[in-house]
């Protein structure tokens, strides 16, 4: 397929179909409504399931059920809707169920606003549910990267038997960009889902059960440690990031999603002025790409985190930095996207120049 012009939400929906999504359960919320809208009339063309549930809580429990039966399942929502789904996500992690969750982030807390935000960073990377669990999460920058990750996410979720989240700010959900949905993407070797509770174990008396409840404490700790091993494997294998002009950089901006797009134009402007600035762009939000920070050159004396939230990712940067480099932060919230000029001025101030 040649490149077509698509809106982010539609593109993610079509990418999910291409990624082999068998069923979608969701509930409307702006700014992600084009995902269920698109799937509501296209899933049936592929003979697949689309259900608009009565609430987010119902939707995530339908996801739990279908995933437990071995289906490839998708749900999508936006920040406050994801908050409602957190209980179900914790249950899925506990029951080791794969699913893909699209979160098109808007301003918060509470109902906040429908305008774009990255204020869910903590919700995405720490999880709002209970217990020791993690959700592998991506924060892509372009529509092409987003659709590639949505398609891969189903494999990754199946491989780890764990929910995978695609977390984009509202702007990526709403923007138009040419995308190719049939390009080559990495495929994973997946074992058959012999754990699925689909009535097909093939053996009389043998039943697969899907539970997150463990009655004996020893047993639960064993389960916790087994999950931990899985998360350690994700930390080892799944960190993804991009480094842009960091080799000779004196100051490195850390930014993801839409903010990274803005930073790219800032780098051009500042380099013309002789300020050596680079970009470290996390692609996975969890696991946070610690490995990228090890590759930064000695020359990089300062890291500037820029977010559409007020210092959430900056806490991860601080933890990874372990006091090695000077740190600075610049964030906008409430649905405001930082403009290139604002970020450039912030960098100029930090390197001792005056704002242009």
């Amino acid at each position: 397929m040649a490149k077509v012009l698509m809106k982010g939400n539609e593109a993610m929906a079509l990418a999910a179909i291409k990624g082999g999504c068998d069923a979608f359960f969701g509930y409307p919320i702006t700014p992600q409504n084009e995902v269920p809208e698109y799937l509501s009339y296209h899933m049936k063309e592929y003979g697949r399931v689309f259900v608009q549930a009565e609430s987010e809580v119902a939707a995530i429990n339908m996801v739990y059920g279908a995933a437990g039966a071995g289906a490839r399942v998708l749900t999508s929502s936006s920040s406050p809707g994801i908050a409602l789904k957190q209980e179900g996500i914790s249950y899925m992690a506990g029951s080791q169920l794969p699913a893909v969750i699209i979160n098109v982030m808007r301003g918060g807390p509470g109902l906040g606003s429908i305008q774009p935000s990255q204020g869910d960073y903590n919700q995405v990377t720490r999880g709002g549910g209970n217990g020791d669990y993690h959700v592998l999460s991506f924060g892509p920058e372009t529509l092409q990267e987003t659709v590639d990750l949505v398609r891969q996410a189903f494999d990754i979720a199946d491989y780890y038997r764990n929910p995978v989240m695609i977390a984009v700010d509202g702007l990526i959900g709403q923007m138009m960009e040419p995308v190719d949905l049939d390009n080559e993407i990495p495929k994973m070797d997946l074992p058959p889902k012999d754990w699925a509770a689909n009535g097909k174990s093939g053996e009389r008396g043998k039943r697969n059960t899907i539970v997150s409840l463990h009655l004996d404490t020893q047993g639960l700790e064993g389960h916790n440690l087994a999950l931990k091993k899985k998360y350690d494997e994700m930390v080892e294998k799944e960190q993804r990031y991009e480094m842009i002009q960091t080799d000779d950089a004196d100051i490195v901006i850390v930014a993801y999603g839409t903010v990274a797009r803005v930073v790219r134009s800032v780098i051009e402007t500042l380099r013309e002025e002789g300020i050596k600035v680079g970009l470290l762009r996390p692609i996975t939000l969890w696991p946070f790409p610690e490995k990228a920070f090890e590759k930064l050159p000695e020359s990089a004396k300062m890291l500037l985190t820029v977010e559409m939230s007020l210092g959430q990712m900056h806490q991860d940067v601080r933890m990874v930095n372990e006091g090695k480099r000077k740190l600075a932060f610049y964030g906008r919230a409430g649905g405001i996207v930082p403009e290139a000029d604002e970020i450039a001025d912030e960098v100029r101030k930090l390197v001792g120049g005056s704002p242009a």
Partner: protein, 216 residues
């Protein structure tokens, strides 16, 4: 351009960007943003720019409330139908759902000869990538708006991937539509950054990206 120019089309076809461009180019008296479908990239988001060109903006009754998606429409939007000395551009929400909103003005239109109902088509959108699909879209838009489509706008721009051929490809498909329906191509928009060797069907107009900023 006619006194009242109403823009419709699929969402993502470039209606709002073109509405802003037309209002600025024509120094219209008013831009009426009737988009109750899209939460982002609406023409009302560049209110300051429009006002600096002397264009009044009519949008929701809740002005400057970008954080809401309540489908309110300012009564100001009906003024151009009543005051026939006003020149206005109407920017509808995408698809037939966005076009339905025109129904409320139907009985107010006293000078239909001064009104254009134009469909913005970007052939790079899957829903309008063939003459057959476009003809169907035109039908739907006419049925729900109760207005006759009077012209087509070729907007085949594809951000940084646009070249002259992209625009010509759009034109070729729209010429088929023109032949089948009798609805003419009235304008072609070409982004100012694209180099072209000649003019296109209808009026060729420059497109400046006011809504989709360049880092997008």
């Amino acid at each position: 351009m006619k006194r009242i120019t109403i823009l419709t089309g699929h969402y993502g076809s470039g209606k709002s960007e073109i509405a802003v461009n037309l209002a600025v180019q024509e120094k219209s008296d008013m831009l009426v943003d009737l988009d109750i479908i899209n939460p982002y990239f609406r023409s009302r988001s560049v209110r300051a720019l429009l006002e600096s060109h002397g264009v009044e903006v009519a949008e929701s009754t809740l002005e400057n409330a970008a954080g809401s998606d309540l489908p309110f429409i300012s009564p100001k939007g009906s003024r151009p139908f009543v005051n026939r000395s006003m020149r206005a551009v109407y920017d509808l929400g995408g698809t037939k759902h966005g076009a339905k909103i025109m129904m409320q003005y139907r009985d107010m239109i006293k000078d239909p000869e001064n009104l254009d109902f134009l469909v913005v088509i970007n052939i790079n959108r899957m829903e309008t990538d063939s003459a057959e699909k476009i003809v169907r879209v035109i039908d739907e838009l006419q049925n729900t708006s109760q207005l006759r489509v009077t012209g087509l706008i070729n907007n085949a721009n594809m951000l940084e991937y646009t070249d002259e051929q992209t625009i010509r490809d759009g034109e070729a498909v729209l010429k088929e539509v023109e032949a089948q329906t009798g609805v003419p191509i009235v304008m072609t928009f070409v982004e100012t950054t694209v180099k072209t060797t000649g003019d296109f069907a209808g009026e060729t107009r420059p497109l400046t990206r006011y809504l989709a900023k360049h880092w997008l």
